[in-house]
Amino acid sequence: MDDPVMLDCRGVWKLYGPAPAQFLKAHGGAPDAGALARAGMIGAVRDVNARIRAGECFVIMGLSGSGKSTLLRCMARLIEPTAGEILFEGRDLLAMPERELIALRRRKMGMVFQHFALLPHLTVLQNVAFPLDVQGIERSKREARAREMIALVGLEGREDCFPRELSGGQQQRVGIARSLAVEPELWFLDEPFSALDPLIRREMQDEFLRLQSMLKKTIVFITHDFDEAIRLADRIAVMKDGAIVQTATPEELVLNPATDYVAEFTRHIPRAKVLRLRTIMEPDTGGAVAGELPADLTVAEAAARIEAAALPFRLIEAGRPVGIVGRQAVIDVLVGRGKP
């Protein structure tokens, strides 16, 4: 369960306004919202603590202006936080000299941007090969790799197009291919699908899940769309006014919202989509069962099979039976009845 921490943010602040560092110091490093407002400062990121574990998909979500992009840019050190520490695999990212930072970005980080940020003067192939190009990798090698990535995102045949000749969804595929070209370990995505229409967004999410199941990257994913968050996330951090109000699995978020704000967010989410069978199971009494199911399926995923069967299913976790789930429990969740 507890994979090593890849990126560790400790008490990260980013303030905009006149002399932010002095302001922060003057307020003991922790000004409250009132003090910020009075001084005319914008607390884009306020005291954020987040530990991103290797291999997880960490989704940051919140409304527009809640500081998601700013936090992400701090994590990649595209902007300098006003205060706090960021450790990448235990090394202090903020103290890193430029040379090392560049080397780190070249080998370990990739980023996808909300508005694609494709270089307009380069073709699709050149765009995807660009990160390799700046590393000085020879042409044939980098183009081969770029072609591979382009194939991975399903854009074969468009290598020589310019970005302006592609649709939004296609452009974002190029963005994704480019960010993957260096085989990053840590993959940042800043609202990669927000600029796309719902149908294509859905398609791209599937694509993303497919890629992630193959690639197993560590991901920091930003979205303001809760549906998207629960589809993709292992854990979700909910941001409000620059601060993280809760970090939890989608399921915990729905079951135990830390604040009214989070509760409001999750209210309209069908529980079946987030509740895992594990959460609604009953003790295994050793009776007859219709079959076995993994305990970490969501109710929605398993609903059709469980409902169709007369007998309950046995749940398996880590190779061992942990409980059973029957039709009634599933229906309770689906119609929104009963406790959890």
């Binding site: 840019r73 990649a76 595209l78 430029e98 560049i102 080397a103 970005r105 070249r106 080998r107 980080m109 990739g110 980023m111 941007f113 909300q114 508005h115 694609f116 940020a117 494709l118 270089l119 307009p120 003067h121 660009f130 990160p131 190009d133 700046v134 590393q135 310019f162 970005p163 302006r164 480019r178 960010s179 260096v182 940042f188």
Partner: protein, 667 residues
């Protein structure tokens, strides 16, 4: 290896290389060719083919002034009416700033109110600056005006200011009106554009000639010339600003049911305000520049002081008056820029005039107060002569010191550049046979924009040849080309630096602003003192004058690159150098080309003024026409300069369009 060379040579590159090589060959061997074939027409345009345009134009002008009539009134009446319209407000402003208000004329004139006291003027500008931005600007502007008083330039400065105060509102209002009309009616824009091009590219001396002819020597002529000179950018800025209001905004306005009029004044103009203010700033700065130049036809003021000093070769006095212009230019520039970037403050809700307009009330009190006190205590009214400081001797000494100590160094630099750069370029351009010159321009235009660009380019070049000005035009091209080359070599790196570093931007920006606000005459003084007359002096003056756009556009181009692009580059692991060469520069190409374009335009306009230091180009031709009041000669030579400018502009714009297209910034 040969494969790579082959690839490099393919396509458009080959065309340009071939065109250049052919031009170079013809330029180098045109003389032997003429000898071999015995065809003198190769190197010299035959006199018999020249168009007698000069005579026609002079005659037409004469007819216009002496006989033309619109039925109810004659052309003469029209110019008189315009003159009267301009003169009345000018007199009023002059009265307020310098002469005082009086009734009666000549001997019987009786002053019933003094002009604004120097303290009141300073207080007014301080209050405006405070309103526009804050105390820092107020201190700067106040300091500038105080300088004018303390260093004894007050009177001249106020004469100049009076002209600017009249020319600017006319220029802005006229520009706005024409710009809006062009925005609304595309055909009007199409008709206006060539006219604007002409107004902006015909060298200023050239239209001083006909204006002098129409309005006579005096401030009215100067004001007319100033307005003509300063208005075109406002027209352009207005059209562009209105056109670039986002469609979503106009659509929103339409959905809310705006009428055309509401759309214009409530949606378009307010949305375009920041850009429009940039236009106003330009009008102010151009007006100032032109008011200085127009001292040649009677504007008076600081420009006249510079001109007089230049004629007397009085270095100290020239620099002193020049500095006063700089100071005033900086004050006006910063002030108008502050208005451009000003953010509307919270609406005032307090009741009562005093509460709502504390500054206005204070200003009125100060004006009246200093006026009254000044009646009894003159130093309050006008700055006491005895307390002025003169720096004239200091400047004269400084230049002399440089000449004594660095003569050899300066001479070596001059000789080096002349031998290795200027003369070869001169030989190249002046050697080009006129017929090939026309063909080459046509081909270049055709390559970039089809016959719609190629044909006009060839025709414009042909006009120059047919006017019998080919030789002088090529000298102009050579001087302009050399200056632009050097200005770009210095300016673009500076701009790149300024575009990447806030601190460099502050310093370079300040220097460039100062350089750009200096009136053209001022450059000539130190340059002539250090390098004496000739092509080299002209080149240096032109470089200094034309440096600004190269720097500005490069810096602006770099700054306005989408931040996401830079981030994408950083995330891809670009080093700073890679970021610059792989991302910033390619994306800034259109801006760099625009900068080049502007550099050429400024270089050409300055080049004409350097006729005063003895170049033998089209500028000299115009200058001679001005001194002889030969309208035809002046207009033809002026048009030739304008045509060079227009051809260059069209070709570089086409290049920029290609670049923008390649970058996907334009369909």
């Amino acid at each position: 290896m040969s494969g790579r060379l082959g690839r490099w040579l393919r396509g458009p590159r080959l065309f340009w290389i071939a065109l250049f090589a052919l031009t170079w060959a013809l330029s180098t061997w045109s003389f032997p060719l003429y000898k071999a074939l015995g065809a003198r027409w190769i190197i010299r345009y035959p006199k018999a083919w020249e168009l007698p345009l000069e005579g026609w134009l002079s005659a037409a002008m004469k007819w216009l002034v002496e006989e033309a009539s619109f039925g109810l009134f004659t052309f003469r009446d029209l110019t008189r009416a315009i003159a009267a319209l301009i003169e009345a407000p000018y007199r009023l402003v002059r009265a307020a700033l310098i002469d005082g208000f009086s009734t009666g004329y000549g001997q019987q004139a009786e002053q019933w109110a003094p002009p604004l006291s120097w303290l009141a003027v300073i207080f007014i500008v301080v209050a405006i600056a405070r309103y526009a931005q804050g105390w820092r600007l107020a201190a700067l502007v106040g300091g500038c005006f105080l300088y004018l008083a303390v260093f004894g330039q007050w009177e001249s400065a106020m004469v100049t200011l009076a002209s600017v105060l009249i020319a600017v509102p006319i220029g802005v209002a006229g520009g706005l009106a024409l710009g809006i009309a062009a925005f609304r009616a595309p055909w009007f824009e199409r008709a206006l554009r060539p006219l604007l091009d002409l107004m902006q590219t015909v060298p200023v001396f050239a239209y001083l000639v006909p204006i002098l002819f129409l309005f006579g020597f005096g401030p009215v002529s100067a004001l007319v010339a100033t307005v003509i000179y300063a208005m075109p950018p406002m027209v352009r800025v207005t059209t562009v600003a209105l056109q670039s209001v986002p469609h979503e905004v106009t659509d929103a306005g339409r959905m809310m049911g705006c009428t055309r009029r509401q759309m214009l004044w409530k949606v378009l103009v307010p949305s375009a305000m920041p850009t429009l203010m940039v236009g106003v700033n330009q009008v102010i700065m151009l007006s100032l520049n032109m008011v200085i130049i127009a001292s040649m036809i009677g504007a008076g003021g600081l420009g006249f002081d510079v001109l007089a000093a230049l004629r007397r070769l009085d270095i100290g006095g020239g620099i002193e008056a020049g500095l006063a212009i700089v100071v005033m230019a900086i004050a006006l520039d910063r002030l108008s820029q502050a208005f451009a970037t000003r953010q509307a403050g919270a609406p005032l809700v307090a009741q009562g005039v005093l509460r709502r307009h504390p500054w206005l009330v204070t200003v009125i009190l100060v004006v009246l107060g200093t006026g009254l006190v000044g009646l009894f205590f003159p130093p309050v009214q006008s700055y006491p002569e005895s307390a002025t400081i003169t720096t004239s001797a200091f400047w004269a000494g400084a230049i002399e010191w440089i000449n004594v100590n660095f003569f050899d160094t300066l001479e070596r630099i001059k000789t080096f550049l002349l031998t290795w750069l200027m003369l070869p370029i001169k030989r190249f351009f002046t050697g080009i046979p006129w017929a090939w010159g026309i063909a080459a321009m046509g081909l270049a235009g055709w390559k970039l924009g089809g016959w719609r660009l190629g044909l006009p380019a060839a025709l414009l070049t042909g006009f120059i040849a047919a006017s019998g000005l080919w030789g002088k035009a090529m000298v102009t091209v050579y001087l302009c080309g050399t200056s632009v080359l050097i200005a770009s070599l210095i300016g673009i790196p500076l701009g790149i630096w300024a575009g990447q570093s806030e601190r460099a931007n502050a310093v370079i920006g300040a220097i460039i602003d100062t350089l750009q606000t200096l009136p053209s005459f001022v450059y000539l003084i130190p340059v002539v003192m250090l390098f004496r007359v000739g092509d080299f002096s002209a080149m240096i003056a032109v470089v200094l004058y034309a440096l600004a756009p190269a720097v500005r556009y490069a810096a602006h181009g770099l700054r306005s690159i989408d931040a996401q692009m830079i981030e994408a580059g950083k995330v891809a692991g670009c080093t700073r150098r890679q970021l610059l060469w792989r991302i910033k520069l390619p994306l800034a190409t259109p801006a760099l080309l625009l900068g080049l374009n502007q550099t050429i335009m400024l270089a050409l306009s300055m080049l004409v003024i350097t006729a005063l230091v003895g170049t033998r180009d089209l500028g000299q031709e115009v200058y001679i026409a001005l001194t002889k009041a030969n309208t035809g000669q002046g207009i033809i030579a002026g048009l030739s300069v304008a045509f060079i400018a227009i051809a260059a502009d069209r070709i570089i714009s086409a290049l920029a369009r290609h670049a923008r297209h390649r970058l996907g910034l334009e369909a």
